[in-house]
Amino acid sequence: MDSVNGAVWVLVLPFALAAVALLAAAANAALDGRTRGVSTTSGWVAPLQESARLLRQQRRTLPGADSLLWRIGGAGLVVAAVLKVLVVPFGGFTFADLSVGLVWFNAMDVLLWALWWLLGWGANSAWSLVGGYRFLAQALSYELPLMFALTAPAIGAGSLRLLDIQDAQSGLWFVVWMPVAFLVFAASVVAFSSWGPFQTATGRDAAGGVIGELSGVDRLVVLAGRYMILVAGAAFSVPLFFGGGSGPWLPAGVWVVIKTLAVVALLLTVRRLFPTLRPERLAEVALVLIMPLVLVQVAVAAVIVVVNGGAL
């Protein structure tokens, strides 16, 4: 019975993630609308209008475009986002209880390097290609701190399985004694979504960069995939740093969703507070300043578990 149940729930997952992504995009557009002085309602419906517009729009291709790789790049974003959420536990339930769930997440975010770059490469357009390489340069900066930040919760729990990591926080959430790891993780989520302050690869200054030559459904899939990655990253921070489904009164699964939305709200706020960080400025800070900081965080976590004989 369990396995049948699981299979059905797995089918719901992509649509649920897409729905939350739509909500995030709507909230973002509503905030932007308020800043611009247009009505907030028009912001809330903006993603729906955009979706309708892109469904109705003709698709384009370019001479010499590498269409197969281009489309793989687009569809891959959606798939990678869903695969990230697949290992997130909702209380005791998880879609796929991998013993190496954390490494799975790491693998998916490395996949994003290829996907964003393929999007830039596939179009055979100068601006897109520049965007693709901008993403790689940025990825070189965020990936190392991200990987070390991911090991901190693993050290805390002594396991790579997300259920164990979540359960190890019954005493104290990891975000309390691993704040640096969480901040780096959150920044990396924004960076691998090529969004907010880390949007150079899709930047308006590069006429849209990797998404600049996409139209119609192709563009819709990429834009949706981008918000899905963002939400997937936020959802993943819940078992890693916020105690998973733990919380009073409500069922664990509901708590995971609430905490995910809270992290998304945090990311939407951060976007408004910072200008874009260009990769060529970011690299130095990321590797010389942030990475040692994360390593200190990892060291602190390691010393605590050794002295304490386990998580706090």
């Binding site: 609308g33 209008q49 309708a52 729009q57 302050p197 949007q199 308006r204 006429a207 849209g208 260009r278």
Partner: protein, 375 residues
């Protein structure tokens, strides 16, 4: 109204407009952008993202060719129109949704437009009702003065476009390909009429040639404000806010750029100037406080004594002074004295930095600077 009708109605609620601004129509373009924002529409970032190609001002031949090139790249449903006077803006924009919703006409246009690229330019079977003039645009329009044309132009690649090839000018002495990319005159957050033909090594500008495409009639006019509009301090403040909006958009701080543009729109439409002054000082404080912006803009442009951040804050400060009916002393900085100065600053820079450098020049000064090149 079937499903298609509902989708069409929903789809035309948030129209993406791609603007081609003809030099000398700065005020008109600001008004157009204000009207677009007021409708809840947005400015497109590229032809692929656009529904409407809107030519602001009266386009001379050079711009018509550019517009044709861009028009061919806009996916259907699409609409091409132009606006030449402030009074005509709302009428022109009001007509847009109906054109985009017209299923029959749009699918006819989609069938009849060139379906393939042949010989590096769009196939010429125009039969749509638009005013596009003939077959794409010829090589004659490409003014490549000062650029290396010595490379072999084999037309072997797909669609008759040659493959990229290397040359010896790579800064690191590597055998890398160079590609050419032209910035302007139609690009988001880019000054009207400015064209930079770049030779790129990767995303770094190895060489650049600048030109300025003048508009009609108002050729090289120093004052970009058309007759019939107040050229008073409020307008001047709006122009400065507009320039600041460009710089912020290029620096990738969208939310603050939105705030500045909202102030600009308030100023040109005459809504509550006192409130705009308050907003302006709030934005100014936010920008001044931001360490990230300071760090991100530091050292741009290189080897010039004023930085992008100083320029940005200076514009907003000056705009505030204009609103307070005071006059701010010009800060005495002369950069750039000509387009050549800008060109020198661009060499060896990444495209993102190059865009910031160009955004540091007030758009209304470009025409004047281009005069300095020749005279």
């Amino acid at each position: 109204m079937g499903v298609k009708g509902i989708v069409a109605r929903l789809a035309t609620g948030r129209i993406h407009v791609f603007i081609l601004e003809i030099p000398g129509h700065l005020m008109l373009r600001m008004q157009v952008e204000a009207s677009i924002a007021a409708r809840g529409w947005v400015l497109a970032e590229a032809p692929a993202d656009a529904d409407v190609l809107l030519i602001v001002g009266e386009a001379p031949d050079a711009f018509i060719e550019i517009a044709d090139g861009v028009w061919n790249q806009i996916p259907s449903p699409r609409h091409r129109t132009s606006v030449a006077a402030v009074a005509a803006i709302s009428e022109t924009l009001d007509a847009v949704p109906a054109v985009l919703r017209d299923e029959q006409q749009q699918s006819r246009d989609a069938r009849q437009r060139p379906q393939h690229v042949i010989g590096g330019s769009a196939e010429s079977e125009h039969s749509d009702g638009s005013d596009s003039s003939g077959d794409g645009h010829g090589d004659g329009a490409m003014d490549m003065e000062g650029m290396d044309m010595g490379m072999d132009m084999d037309m072997s690649g797909p669609a008759g476009i040659p493959l990229a090839s290397g040359d010896e000018s790579d800064r690191d002495g590597l055998e890398m390909d160079i590609i050419h990319l032209t910035l302007g005159p139609v690009l988001p957050d880019w000054p009207a009429g400015l064209v930079v033909h770049c030779t790129l090594h990767g995303d770094v500008i190895g060489d650049a040639a600048m030109e300025f495409l003048p508009g009609t009639g108002t050729n090289k006019s120093l004052d970009a404000i058309p007759a019939g509009l107040p050229a008073g301090p409020t307008t001047r403040a709006a122009m400065l806010c507009d320039a600041a909006g460009y710089l912020l958009a290029v620096a990738g701080w969208e939310t603050v750029a939105l705030k500045v543009r909202r102030i600009r729109d308030g100023l040109i439409t005459g809504n509550a100037p006192e409130q705009m002054a308050v907003r302006l000082s709030r934005v100014y404080r936010q920008l001044e406080r931001s360490r990230t912006l300071r760090w991100s803009l530091a050292g741009i442009p290189k080897a010039v004594d004023i930085g992008a951040r100083t320029v940005l804050l200076g514009w907003l400060e000056s705009a505030a002074a204009h609103l307070a009916e005071g006059e701010l002393e010009p800060d005495g900085s002369v950069w750039p004295a000509s387009l050549e100065d800008v060109r020198t600053a661009l060499l060896g820079q990444e495209l993102s930095v190059a865009r910031l450098i160009v955004a540091c020049v007030e758009p209304s000064r470009i025409a004047e600077l281009s005069g300095a090149v020749h005279g």
